[in-house]
């Protein structure tokens, strides 16, 4: 096996694979993705996979998310069907206090081009008749949607491989050494060399950073998700908290727990999530839950992506974030620009790791 590369990307999840793919569009040679297990075995394979913009805060982060969401239709043309659906996103609310929040949100986002409608109860129920008639209203934006995360990562990976990218899986990186002009990366299956090194370790970013003596402040935040049996298509929109997939399954969940790397599910949260489902969409009562799963969010300490060069170490890059599914098309594009051109078409200074220094 060849061991000398132009670029090594550590992590083959949605972020790492998107970077690999976008980089390979321009630079066909010398890219390898190292993954400790197999793409989709981490967060990318355990998500509801909303492509979600409309109530991200603050507005500049929503704007960044919007640019990424806008890339999805083109991306699907390039890498193949990823079951991306721009359904529009609905966030129902149940109190007048939340209407106040919603109105302010809509006002704040108008200048940046994200149109948020604050729907009355009647308008919301007209759009999504299955919602609980007790809602007070909902926010709505047409830009939101969802994607099949398995398809997405698989397509990134296949397209990247077609462009010459190699994947070395079940190959955990154990040591990284910086020498003048190159990195030596030691992994379970051997030794690799490269000029550029990209850390895209998702939830494991902090551990990965330690190998290069850089603190990447990513924590773990568990979410538990329920999946129903396939139901007749009946939900029109991506509802914050639940969505219906192509095959009719409904995915439900919006829980947050600090449990480190523990991916167990618990009946406590499963039952609460069942309550939420029925609270939002009462007709789900009779639907059977066939499985529950946990995903661990890669949650930066301040919630925003950590993206770009790592100051002080030449040719070392990091891409670690929550909402990797939403952001992956843009992050792949911008990281490619940064690595090949030294600058990005959309500024990413705000997301630099240096903000934590």
């Amino acid at each position: 096996m060849e061991t000398s590369y132009e670029t090594i990307i550590i992590g083959g999840g949605v972020v790492g694979s998107s970077i690999a793919y976008h980089l390979s569009e321009r630079n066909k040679e010398g890219i390898v993705v190292l993954d400790k297990k197999f793409p989709l075995s981490g967060t990318s394979g355990s998500t509801q996979a909303w492509v979600w913009v409309h109530n991200k805060t603050p507005s500049w982060y929503a704007e960044f998310s919007m640019y990424s969401a806008e890339l999805y239709p083109y991306l699907s043309k390039k890498i193949g069907d990823v079951e991306y659906k721009r359904t529009g996103g609905l966030s129902p609310f149940f109190s007048e206090l939340d209407r106040e929040k919603a109105e302010r949100l809509a006002e704040a986002y108008e200048p940046i081009g994200i149109k948020i409608k604050v729907l009355s109860r009647e308008e919301a129920l007209e759009k999504e008749p299955s919602l609980n008639p007790d809602i007070v209203g909902a926010t709505y934006s047409s830009i939101d949607g969802n994607v099949n995360p398995f398809r997405l990562v698989d397509r990134y990976m296949r397209a990247a491989k077609k462009n010459g990218v190699q994947y070395s899986t079940y190959n955990k990186v154990t040591e990284i050494q910086k020498l003048p002009g190159k990195f030596i990366v030691r992994a379970e299956k051997g030794r690799f060399e490269c000029k550029n090194l990209v850390l895209a370790g998702g939830t494991w970013s902090r551990e990965l950073g330690k190998l290069v003596e850089v603190t990447i402040p990513i924590n773990q935040l568990r979410g538990q998700i329920l999946v129903t049996e396939p139901l007749k298509p009946f939900l029109n929109y991506t509802i914050s908290g639940l969505r219906q997939a192509f095959n009719g399954e409904v995915l439900i969940g919006y829980s947050m727990e600090e449990e480190g790397f523990n991916r167990a599910t618990t009946l406590d949260v499963i039952q609460e999530t069942a309550n939420m489902a029925i609270h939002y969409v009462p007709s789900l009562r009779k639907a059977k839950v066939v499985r529950a799963f946990s995903g661990i969010r890669a949650m930066p300490e301040d919630g925003f992506p950590i993206l770009g060069k790592i100051p002080g170490v030449e040719n070392l890059y990091v891409a670690a974030m929550h909402s990797g599914v939403t952001l992956s098309p843009l992050v792949g594009t911008l990281m490619t620009e940064l690595i090949l051109d030294g600058e990005t078409s959309i500024p990413i200074d705000r997301y630099s790791i240096s903000r934590f220094a």
Partner: protein, 365 residues
């Protein structure tokens, strides 16, 4: 919701679970017995064959007789029966979530004995998903529990002792068995008498053979059997497959127990020690869940798990535990070395590896 409390929770009311219930309840412990079926006895209920190699205290009897006996011996004790109830998962504090199909409620046990039994493995060939293709266990259930004749003309794929039993029972209810198809060079069953009986009533045992393909519209109507170079077609409306059995592991997995692999015990098996205790301190196991074995051995493992739980809860004297354990292990050895030496050896190997499981920490990513 406040959890219901119990000393001992036994999950599974098959032979092992019932044996464990007797050991624990008869020593004064408060026992809760849960099973998704409304009746007790598990798979015993449809076993009409005489069970060989039962523990020495038992007369030879059929499965359904044994089930009745095991249920009857619990009658003197106050046991909380949760029949027709399912375990659906666990709460963060370790309580088990049980449903009566109306609600889910928590139950907290000092010790749990998991006796969830085994499931049958599938065998794949083109069109194995057609109706009329089923496991031998499913065919037996149709015949002996639902009193439905599962077909008129059948082939059986696999030649274990269980397959021989089912072949004989099917013949008895008038199903014509066109052949027992075995991919290996020898018959798998250990019981030579049964194999003789099968041969005697004219059922061909086809070695080195397999199902090449099934065909049918809406249901199976014929199969191609391949033996060496020869391929021929049999008109059948029933294909019974015997892919072996494996322990049912879901509950162990959710509890965070570790696993080891022993082919002779059915593949992946929860890791356990001499006391039939898993590496989760409060979780014990018994029966086929601890490795596929014969009915007699399953009873003994249930008794062993039961008295070890009594010991852990101080419901039995030290001397009585030691004595009981010793004699039960002897009984287990005697049954398993007689009926299937390889299972006995695999069980011992498995126990030796208690501290070195192959799969552990399955939820830590």
């Amino acid at each position: 919701m406040n959890a219901v409390e119990t000393d001992v929770l036994i999950i599974g009311a098959g032979p092992a679970g019932l044996a464990a219930a007797f050991e624990t309840a008869s020593r004064g412990l408060q026992v809760t017995l849960v099973d998704e079926s409304k009746s007790m006895g598990g798979q015993l209920v449809q076993q009409t064959q005489v069970l060989s190699s039962l523990p020495s205290i038992y007369q030879p009897m059929c499965g359904f007789e044994l089930a009745a006996h095991l249920s009857r011996q619990l009658e003197d004790f106050e046991i909380r029966y949760l029949l027709g109830h399912r375990v659906i998962g666990f709460y963060k504090d370790g309580s088990v979530g049980i449903t009566d199909e109306k609600n889910v409620f928590p139950l907290r046990a000092k010790k749990t004995i998991v006796a969830t039994g085994a499931s049958e493995n599938a065998i794949a060939f083109p069109k194995w998903t057609l109706p009329g293709v089923m496991t031998i266990g499913a065919a037996q259930t149709l015949m002996n529990r639902n009193f439905v004749q599962p077909g008129k003309n059948a082939v059986i794929v696999g030649s274990s002792d269980f397959a021989m039993d089912v072949a004989l029972q099917l013949s008895k209810v008038g199903v014509r068995i066109r052949g027992i198809v075995e991919k290996n060079t020898g018959v798998k069953a250990n019981g030579t008498e049964k194999v003789e009986q099968v041969r005697k009533i004219g059922i061909p045992i086809l070695l080195n053979s397999s199902i090449k393909e099934a065909r049918g519209i809406g249901a199976v109507s014929e199969v191609d059997i391949q033996q060496g170079e020869d391929i021929w077609t049999e008109k059948v409306d029933l294909v019974c497959v015997d892919g072996g059995r494996s322990p049912i592991l879901d509950i162990f997995y959710q509890l965070g127990c570790s696993f080891g692999h022993q082919e002779e015990l059915g593949g992946w098996v929860p890791q356990y020690n001499n006391d039939f205790q898993t590496d989760c301190e409060n979780v014990f196991l018994a029966g086929n869940a601890a490795g596929i074995s014969t009915q007699g051995a399953l009873l003994v493992t249930g008794m062993l798990a039961g008295i070890n739980v009594c010991a852990a809860l101080g419901a039995i004297s030290k001397e009585a535990v030691e004595e009981g354990k010793q004699s039960l292990w002897k009984e287990l050895e005697s049954i398993e070395t007689r009926s299937n030496l390889k299972v006995w050896q695999a069980r011992n190997q498995h126990i030796e590896k208690f501290a070195h499981p192959v799969l552990k920490d399955q939820f830590i990513s």
